[in-house]
């Protein structure tokens, strides 16, 4: 059976096969029954006719015997006529029996009967002639007793044999007809049983095939529905995750949009500040030039200060030299005063007054010496201060030089900064423009994301609907599988 056939075609083919088989069985049965009936009717008719004709022979022969017996008793010719009529009846019956008897044995027996009856008729005619001729009754009686009677018994026996033979044939034919009928019945029963078995097999095959195919299809549908449900679940989960992700993306895009706007605003501010910075830079450049000139002036002043301080140091050294002279003079004065005091110690009154003067001179010399020492200390401090100042001034000069160089570097850096500020201004304007374009693009992306989010929600809804449909389909498949397969095998 082809697998591509539909169930309707299969069922139709199965029913057609069953109907055809039924028709065949019915035809076989009808044919067999008709055959049996025809044979039986033919046989029974023939045998019945043969039997009837045989019985007619016996009746006609007995009537001829009776008519002969009437003649012999009465000697009336009427009985001879009746006897001949009976014999004609007999012969007629024999003639019909020849057409009725089909078997050779029956024909032989019938021929013997006719032969014997002809001989009996001859004897009977002779006896009748004798009797009519008034012969001795004894001769006739003896003839009757010796010839006619045995022949009569022989004929009766043969007719009985023929009847028995025909009855046997009849019974045999009837038995054969019954056998045929039984065979036909058996054949019909066998064919019916075969048809039943075939129908059962066909039903089983069809059922199994249909169940297997439907079960396979249902299982396939069930598997497909399970896969569909899994896919729908995954799609629903994916749609949920995608929806969540789209929400996050939308939020992020919104934040990005706000950030882009803030960046654009900041870039605009940066551009404005950069312009102000450029203006301030130009002003600062002028200030730098002025400051550079001022620093040059400071450097010149520092050089002058250094020169003055060096001159001050020299003058301090000169003061120190003079102070050494003063100190030397004070020391010598002191020595002289000490010597004067020593000299005046042993002198007279005038010497004592001189001693007073000398003592005062010594004191003055001491004070001069002390003051000289103080001045020396101060001069040393001044010289140290001058030295420190010179060193500091030289350091300042060097620092001023370094400052000059650094200032020049600062000026160069300032010019570079000015250039960079210009570049920054241009870059900030480009950033502002780009950020505005970016914000516009982000708005478009946000709109697209909103559409995608809407689509995702619709996808989620359709996925949920598909999940429900898949579940219903799975339930229907399970129900259908339960219908076509037992629960144990299902």
């Amino acid at each position: 059976m082809r697998r591509t056939w539909t169930f309707g075609r299969k069922l139709a083919a199965g029913f057609a096969a069953v109907v055809a088989l039924t028709i065949v069985i019915a035809g076989i049965g009808v044919y067999g029954m008709r055959q049996v009936v025809a044979e039986e009717e033919q046989l029974l008719s023939r045998q019945f006719k043969a039997l009837h004709e045989s019985e007619e022979l016996h009746v006609a022969f007995e009537r001829k015997i009776a008519e002969a017996r009437g003649f012999f008793f009465t000697r009336e010719d009427r009985f001879l006529g009746l006897m001949r009529e009976a014999r004609a009846q007999f012969l007629d019956a024999a003639g019909r029996a020849r057409t009725g008897v089909a078997s050779e044995e029956g024909k032989r027996r019938l021929a013997e009967i006719e032969k014997t009856e002809a001989e009996h008729q001859q004897d009977l005619d002779r006896a009748a002639a004798l009797l009519k001729n008034k012969e001795n009754p004894d001769v006739v009686a003896r003839m009757i007793r010796d010839d006619l009677a045995p022949r009569r018994d022989q004929i009766s026996k043969r007719i009985s044999g023929l009847v028995g033979f025909e009855e046997q044939i009849f019974e045999t034919a009837r038995a054969r007809a019954a056998s045929h009928a039984e065979s036909a019945q058996t054949l019909v029963l066998v064919a019916t049983a075969g048809a039943l078995v075939l129908a059962l097999l066909l039903a089983i095959v069809l059922g199994r095939g249909i169940s297997r195919q439907i079960g396979g299809a249902v299982q396939h549908v069930q598997g497909s529905s399970t896969e569909l449900r899994t896919a729908a679940t995954q799609q629903a989960n994916g749609a949920k995750e995608q929806s969540g992700a789209m929400t996050e993306v939308a939020t992020t895009i919104s934040e990005l949009l706000a950030t882009s706007r803030q960046i654009a605003e900041s870039a605009r501010r940066v551009a404005a500040i950069a312009e102000k910075t450029a203006a301030s830079g130009r002003s600062g450049d002028d200030s730098m030039q002025s400051a550079l000139e001022s620093v040059n002036g400071i450097k010149r002043q520092v050089d002058v200060v250094v020169a003055h301080m060096l001159d001050l140091g020299k003058r301090s050294q000169q003061i120190g030299g003079v102070l050494e002279i003063i100190n030397e003079l004070a020391e010598q004065t002191n020595i002289l005063a000490i010597n004067a005091t020593i000299e005046a110690a042993g002198a007279t009154e005038a010497g004592r007054r001189f001693a007073v003067v000398a003592d005062e001179i010594r004191k003055l010399a001491d004070r001069v010496s002390g003051s000289t020492k103080e001045i020396r200390g101060l001069i040393e401090e001044i010289r140290a201060a001058v030295h420190t100042t010179v060193m500091a001034t030289e350091g300042s000069s060097k620092a001023v030089d370094a400052g000059m160089r650094e200032f020049e570097q600062v000026a160069a850096a300032f010019k570079e900064i000015m250039g960079l500020v210009g570049t920054t201004t241009d870059a900030a304007r480009e950033i502002e423009l780009s950020t505005k374009q970016q914000a516009s693009a982000v708005e478009q992306v946000n709109s697209a994301i909103s559409d995608v989010a809407q689509t995702t929600r619709e996808t989620e809804a359709s996925s949920t609907q598909m999940l429900q449909t898949a579940s219903q389909l799975s339930g229907l498949a399970t129900d259908l599988l339960r219908l076509v397969q037992p629960p144990a095998s299902a």
């Binding site: 002191n334 005063a337 000490i338 020593i342 007073v356």
Partner: protein, 172 residues
């Protein structure tokens, strides 16, 4: 008024009072010449000293006395100059710039490093040295301010030098 102006006024008043006051007899005080040699402070009585002069040029003179620096010239007369620190046993003076001259016809000079000043102290500030040091020449000590310094007897040093040189001493 600054400290210098106050100090200047004090000096002027002291100087003026010196001329205005009547000359009075010096109190019982002792005049000392404070000096430092070989890094150690000493003092000598002014009465033991004829004068204080600059050491000047000293010509080395061969002698067994290690303290003898040589011969110097004071007002045209040769004077043997000795190292005061060497005589006191303190080693050699670093730069003997000053020289004190002893009294008498056989004067000698004692050279030392630094003249620290002229001291006029009460006699009560002088005391006998409890442990005479500096070659038994410092027999007294004097309190000058917050410090003590040995008072060297020039006469004792002169006698010791003469004894070393075998010169007979004359008691005045």
């Amino acid at each position: 008024m600054s400290a210098d102006e106050g100090r200047l006024g004090e000096m002027r008043r002291a100087f003026d009072s010196a001329f205005a006051a009547e000359p009075v007899a010096p109190p019982e005080r002792v005049d000392l010449i404070a000096l430092r040699t070989a890094g150690r402070p000493y003092a000598v009585r002014a009465s033991d000293v004829a004068s204080v002069v600059a050491t000047g040029t000293v010509v080395p003179f061969p002698c067994d006395e290690p303290a003898l620096l040589g011969l110097g010239a004071v007002r045209g007369a040769p004077v043997p100059v000795y190292d005061l620190a060497a005589l006191l046993g303190d080693g050699a003076a670093k730069a003997p710039r000053w020289t004190i001259l002893s009294h008498g016809p056989e004067r000698l000079g004692l050279a030392f490093d630094e003249l620290e000043g002229y001291l006029r102290v009460p006699a009560a500030d002088l005391a006998a040295a409890p442990d005479p040091a500096a070659g038994q020449a410092a027999t007294e000590i004097v309190r000058a301010g917050s410090s003590l310094r040995p008072v060297v007897s020039v006469a004792s040093l002169v006698r010791r030098v003469k004894q070393r040189c075998g010169i007979p001493t004359k008691e005045r």
